[in-house]
Subunit: 277 residues, 2 copies
Amino acid sequence: MLSKAWQGQDSQLCVGLDPDPDRLPASLRGRPDALFAFCRAIVDRTADLACAFKPQIAYFSAARAEDQLEALIAHIHANHPGLPVILDAKRGDIGSTAERYAKEAFERYQADAVTLSPYMGRDSIEPYLRYPGRGAILLCRTSNPGGSDLQALDVGGEKLYERVARLAADAWNTGGELGLVVGATFPAELARVRELAPTLPLLVPGIGAQGGDVDATVAAGTDTDGYGMIISSSRAILYASGGDDFAERAADVARATRDEIRAASARRRTAKADARG
Amino acid sequence: MLSKAWQGQDSQLCVGLDPDPDRLPASLRGRPDALFAFCRAIVDRTADLACAFKPQIAYFSAARAEDQLEALIAHIHANHPGLPVILDAKRGDIGSTAERYAKEAFERYQADAVTLSPYMGRDSIEPYLRYPGRGAILLCRTSNPGGSDLQALDVGGEKLYERVARLAADAWNTGGELGLVVGATFPAELARVRELAPTLPLLVPGIGAQGGDVDATVAAGTDTDGYGMIISSSRAILYASGGDDFAERAADVARATRDEIRAASARRRTAKADARG
């Protein structure tokens, strides 16, 4: 599904849906379905530019708006079939509790993939892998300052995030449905993860508002098919305008970002062809 | 709040509220408020035996029953004031997303504490510490088989879970409101965590259905005040009977477990006194 979206849309841009009630346009504030209406408008204007959508569940949970998240994902599936929905939930638990979280993500919300924390180990991932065709994307190297506190620790000749990448690429990846979250702010580490996990989809937040460099990201994370990344931008797209033109301006930023990723990919192909001679 | 509950109730038993729709008594199944009604009956029968309640949010989310979780926590606060509610959610995210999760736990659900994953580091914990009087309990050493995959890795002379314990005891614990999750199935490691974090409350799942030994747990995890643990049991209590006497049987098991913990604490005190004198 993701490969088709990459190639069919020629896009590696993922639009992150983090609807902050305090940043919605005035015309939507106070509406009982404000989060849904805001995200739906963004989705409909950016669907031809994106390879995936990534709703962040915390924004809906904090607002008692689970029903709006359900409606949003149903809207995406009905109106933009073929575009995967990644539920950004970063769940991490075991046994029957993990089964409940998998049910929440895949049955209740009908997400195509969900983000997970690897801290509790293999049996915290397995319940998600029992859903054929659904993906589980593990936190590996995150782009926040505290990301180094544990992830950059040396665990015997490699760093913790490298161990997570190796486990996800091999021992844990029984169904071939795993991916990894790797921030755009550390291109050298993104390149290392790509080396350790040559075929895994990489969900890459941190461009746009967080300042990651698109050229460096594309050079570091592209796979042998010329795609391989779900490069996520949220705030820079969602809040491009605070007025009633928010969805048009969001599409402008999304298009510019998609094009920037495309151009970086083209430069990378040219550089590779030159190197081959 | 927790110290008062430990001493006031002379109990370190935490009743875990993981309401599995498939295991409810037949008389409750099919009721729209089944999860709430089940948990409320358990809560009201076990409140005099427990130092805390720990609802597991996944069971409510998978069932589209967030409103029942809200009602349950409100019921506990209204009818059993002084007993802390730990929302078992194992959240882990950063920045504005972490703020949303903190809002979900502390404002929407009015939990007194929430469980978190440490994988994303210090800035993924901080938003929760901005709520005075509310706790954040970090996954440290979990009792599942895969718990060793990352947590037992050597990170330069100590294991990853030991590093997490040290960080939680010191650098990360700016407000004195952190705790740690340490499974009962590894008493030697529980003792090590207690050594590294002498004053932190330890949430200890894994007795009861998961087979952890109460004597070994109490010997390993007790603090200098003679308490210090929130020893959690869920399934053994909740599903003690599948019939209409479920709440009475739950109270029987809860009482027996509390008494077993008390007796182990008494034996530990005697052993300590003998050793001194």
